[in-house]
């Protein structure tokens, strides 16, 4: 593969960061509109109850203008997870609920002339609850004593399989079984949820949303309000982090309804506690894994039973379960495997996308189990993984798209070498003192590149070369902080041979962006949208060259173009913009193309993390002393951005392993309702992350690139847990490995 890139892989600076540092970037809550009403959601205090609301006392508060409840809103059910009309879901959400299904469910909207008035209105609102038995946790859900929706709390179930696991277990030398749990994780974007909407002069609803999928927001609003798609303008604005949390519309339907009803701009915001309780979370799970293998380390059969806590609404109950199951077939060659996934309604915060989408959960337990298999036959856990890992070009055993240039073995081999794994493994115990135990751990993982094979995965791009030598790329992307805009700029820059500074890529706006089928989610943007930008850039560059031949009477071979200029031996340099001028004046045309791009595949990405931990035997606290994260990402588009993903993903993954959990009391209230109780990793607890990139090129990816953002949050956590289990010779499988759990393991030693 040609690696003489001008822009690809380079550490180019993003063009939004200085304004963010200066406080000039406008986030949702920084935007004010004339005549704007402030809004706040009254969230249910009860987990499972029919709600009656008396508006009078709230309406008496000075400055409160409106109180809306279930009685006032259209009754069109929707599913906030549904990103396009064809996605098969259960529609069980209202704009405002009559029956609250979790503490934090939306039951009323209060609007007022000021934030103060609205806050007073919230306090004054009289709400009475006709309570039903709450269902907290998977075990309670399974009893079906109290039903949340329909006639059972089982929301979704699916079996995926290849070969014949049940009989293959009889042929195995060894069988190792593990069972563990993963927590509900709060996305913890530092910006809380918010939305602003207004009516424009043509009676369009304009929604300013820090979101991930403008076309999903449009679809859900159209559905909830029965309003024409073509009259709903959703604009993605600067977002203070998402990680999946701002994927599903939470406030957008309510906000749009309020603007439509009042005719005024409306801004609704949530504070941290409201965002923790009332938005979405990573689904918690309980996973049982049974693996059969032979003395030589070859896995023969595996059975996975996964139970998912789906929360109070259906949302992603099917999607996350399927996502977990599918990943189980794409990391190791296992001829006989069955995945049995079930998700349940519970009276807790609904599940939503969360960086990794099921991969962090399934790998959390499966990678512990793999270590235990290796231990059983005294085999090095890296070697055990290498014996079973997939190879480039392997097919997916359950018929999903092929794995592509799957480089997990390179991740493991090069990672082990860079980490000095074998030597450290030999000597790690020498570091032990009476107070501290040391251990090292490894974990591998896989993730995808979009929806191809499961859902429509295409996008449309429109590119123009403008007279002032600027390239304008219209595509429905959403920069969530990852540098998505710059990624697109660098891909286009490479094709155009022009600086990224000359390229403008406005973000998702349903009145500007051509239709995109699936949004900025599912690790699809670099691979699919980047591929689309590359393709469209090639088409328009060809058009530019052809027009040049017409205007200057030369052949294609004579043309040289570079750094935004085009010329031949006999003709002086002119800028691309000057050429665009000439094309319009002389040829009555313009340099513009529209291209529809279908994803060419859905290859896997791979990662391996290597970790050393120091466990305090007295306090149960764990320090991650060292971490190396190795990623098979095909080709880095921008190394600084890639490292940023790897370091940030590690922070989330280590948090899930050690300290993060949305905890519920039996009565359905949330214990961890702010950052003083919900602990994300802060700077002193964060190790320096070393990253190693395997850049072997993915055919089909733009310049060989594939995804990296989500898989970064998959392997550090399980590697940490494996290192703890190594340090204490224990088998912690329940997450997070809190000091209480660590001390229990120390005492059992």
């Amino acid at each position: 593969m040609n690696k003489n890139f001008r822009y690809i892989g380079k550490r180019i600076e993003r063009d939004d960061s200085l304004d963010k540092a200066r406080g000039k970037a406008l986030y949702l809550d920084d935007i004010e509109k004339n005549n704007m009403l402030h809004g706040k959601i009254y969230m249910s205090n009860k987990p499972h109850a029919f709600v009656s609301i008396n508006k009078e006392s709230a309406l008496k508060v000075e400055g409160v203008t409106h109180v809306f409840t279930y009685e006032d809103v259209p009754k069109n059910l929707y599913c906030s997870h549904q990103w396009f009309p064809g996605a098969d879901v259960v529609e069980d959400e209202n704009i405002l609920q009559k029956k609250a299904r979790f503490v934090g469910d939306r039951i009323a909207l209060i609007l007022g002339e000021s934030k103060e008035a609205v806050n007073k209105g919230i306090k004054a609102l009289e709400v009475s609850y006709d309570e039903l038995e709450p269902v907290i946790g998977i075990d309670e859900a399974k009893k079906d004593r109290s039903i949340i929706n329909g006639d059972t709390n089982l929301a979704f179930s699916k079996i995926l399989s290849c070969g014949d696991a049940d009989s293959a277990f009889n042929e195995c030398d060894y069988i190792i079984e593990d069972e563990g749990s993963t927590p509900k994780v709060h996305h913890s974007a530092i910006e809380n949820h918010g939305c602003l909407s207004e009516m424009d002069e043509f009676n369009n609803i304009v929604v300013y949303a820090p979101c991930q999928v403008v076309f999903q927001v449009r679809h859900i609003i159209a559905k909830a309000l029965d309003y024409p798609y073509s009259k709903i303008r959703v604009k993605k604005i600067t977002i203070g982090g998402s990680f999946g949390g701002k994927g599903m519309p939470i406030l957008e339907t309510v906000c749009a309804f309020a603007s439509l009803k009042t005719g005024r701009p409306v801004k609704i915001t949530m504070n941290r506690s409201e965002t923790i309780m009332g938005s979405r979370s990573r689904n918690s799970t309980r996973i049982k894994i049974k693996t059969g293998f032979n003395k030589d380390g070859k896995i023969i059969a595996r059975k996975i039973d996964a139970e998912v806590d789906g929360g109070g609404h259906f949302t992603n109950a099917a999607a996350v379960t399927m996502a977990m199951g599918k990943k189980a077939f794409r990391l190791y060659k296992i001829k006989n495997q069955v995945f049995n996934g079930k998700s349940y309604y519970t009276n807790t915060v609904p599940g939503g996308a969360c960086r990794g989408y099921g991969s962090p959960q399934i790998h959390a337990i499966s990678e512990i189990n793999i270590d235990n298999c290796a231990k059983k036959i005294n085999m090095d856990p890296v070697k055990f993984r290498l014996i079973n890992a997939v190879d480039p070009g392997d097919k997916d055993p359950i018929g999903a798209p092929e794995l592509g240039n799957a480089r997990i073995k390179d991740c493991l081999i090069q990672g082990a070498e860079a980490f000095n794994w074998v030597e450290r493994k030999k000597h790690i115990k020498r570091k032990n003192t009476s107070r501290y135990s040391y251990g090292i751990g490894v974990a591998a993982g896989t993730h995808g590149n979009g929806y191809k094979g499961a859902f429509p995965d295409f996008t449309n791009v429109n590119i123009s070369i403008l007279p002032n030598n600027r390239i304008w790329i219209k595509i429905g992307i959403h920069d969530l902080g990852c540098g998505t805009v710059l990624t697109m700029q660098q891909i286009a820059a490479e094709v155009f041979k022009i600086s990224t500074k000359n390229i403008d890529v406005p973000q998702g706006d349903t009145f500007i962006s051509p239709y995109d089928s699936a949004g900025t989610q599912a690790s699809r943007v670099t691979f699919v949208c980047g591929g689309a930008v590359k393709k469209a850039s090639e088409v328009i560059v060809n058009k530019m060259l052809e027009n040049y031949t017409k205007l200057f009477g030369c052949s294609l071979e004579d043309i040289i173009y570079e750094d935004g200029y085009i010329w031949t031996k006999n003709n002086d340099k002119i800028s691309y913009g000057d050429l665009a001028d000439l094309v319009e004046s002389k040829l009555e045309s313009n340099l513009e193309v529209s291209v529809k791009y279908n994803s060419p595949g859905n290859p896997a990405v791979y990662a391996a993390s290597f970790v050393e931990v120091k466990v305090d035997n007295y306090s149960g606290l764990v320090e991650v002393e060292d971490i190396l994260a190795v990623h098979d990402l095909g080709q880095a588009i921008n190394k600084t951005l890639v490292e940023g993903q790897i370091e940030g993903g590690a922070q989330m993954s280590i948090g899930m392993a050690l300290s993060e959990e949305i905890e519920y009391r039996k009565d359905g209230t949330v214990k961890t309702d702010n950052f003083s109780k919900y602990h994300i990793i802060n700077s002193p607890s964060m190790p320096q992350v070393k990253s190693l990139l395997i850049e072997d090129g993915e055919p089909g990816g733009p310049f060989g690139a594939k995804s990296v953002g989500e898989i970064t949050a998959v392997t550090p956590g399980p590697a940490v847990i494996n290192a703890i289990n190594d340090a204490l010779s224990c088998n912690i499988c329940d997450h997070p490995a809190t000091p209480e759990r660590i001390i229990k393991a120390v005492l059992n030693k």
Partner: protein, 155 residues
């Protein structure tokens, strides 16, 4: 009550509700939108400003408490030219992703430099322990602050 304070170098005399939170006063009354709110309880550090050159969380202070004091936000640092080096270092090193924690992070770093012009890496890490970031894993933020300490200039 009437307060007298210096905000980003400008002396102001204002009649205010002393019980208004400082974050609301700065954002709503003074239009200093760099001051972000993330948790409302002093845990995330997004609303960090300098009060007499010390880092404080403006969501846990009342506006009445700044009477007679000096308040600085990144808008103030920009006015005096003190933002230049640090914001370019953050930008160049990829320390800014979503950017929501950035102004608060910069103010904590600035408070550290006022106290100690040559902090160690550990002191830098400690200085931002009250500023949560979900995007970067802190590594690039710490590196950026180290480069400011070392006087490394970026284009």
């Amino acid at each position: 009550m009437e307060i007298k304070a210096t905000i980003n170098g400008d002396e102001i005399v204002k009649n205010i509700n002393p019980n208004k939170r400082l974050v609301d006063f700065l954002r709503d009354d003074m239009n200093l939108k760099s001051v972000k709110e993330g948790c409302s309880e002093g845990e995330c550090g997004a609303c960090t400003v300098l009060l007499d050159k010390k880092a404080v969380t403006s969501c846990t202070l009342f506006a009445g408490q700044i009477d007679g004091c000096e308040i600085t936000t990144v808008e103030g640092l920009e006015k005096t030219g003190e933002l230049e080096l640090i914001m370019k270092s953050f930008s160049k090193n990829g320390a800014i992703q979503c950017g929501f924690c950035t102004p608060g992070m910069i103010m904590s770093a600035k408070a550290l430099f006022y106290k100690n012009s040559n902090p160690s890496k550990d002191e830098i890490i400690k200085a931002i322990e009250g500023n949560l970031c979900r995007c970067t894993g802190y590594n690039k933020i710490v590196k950026s602050i180290e480069e400011v300490r070392d006087g490394i200039e970026h284009e």
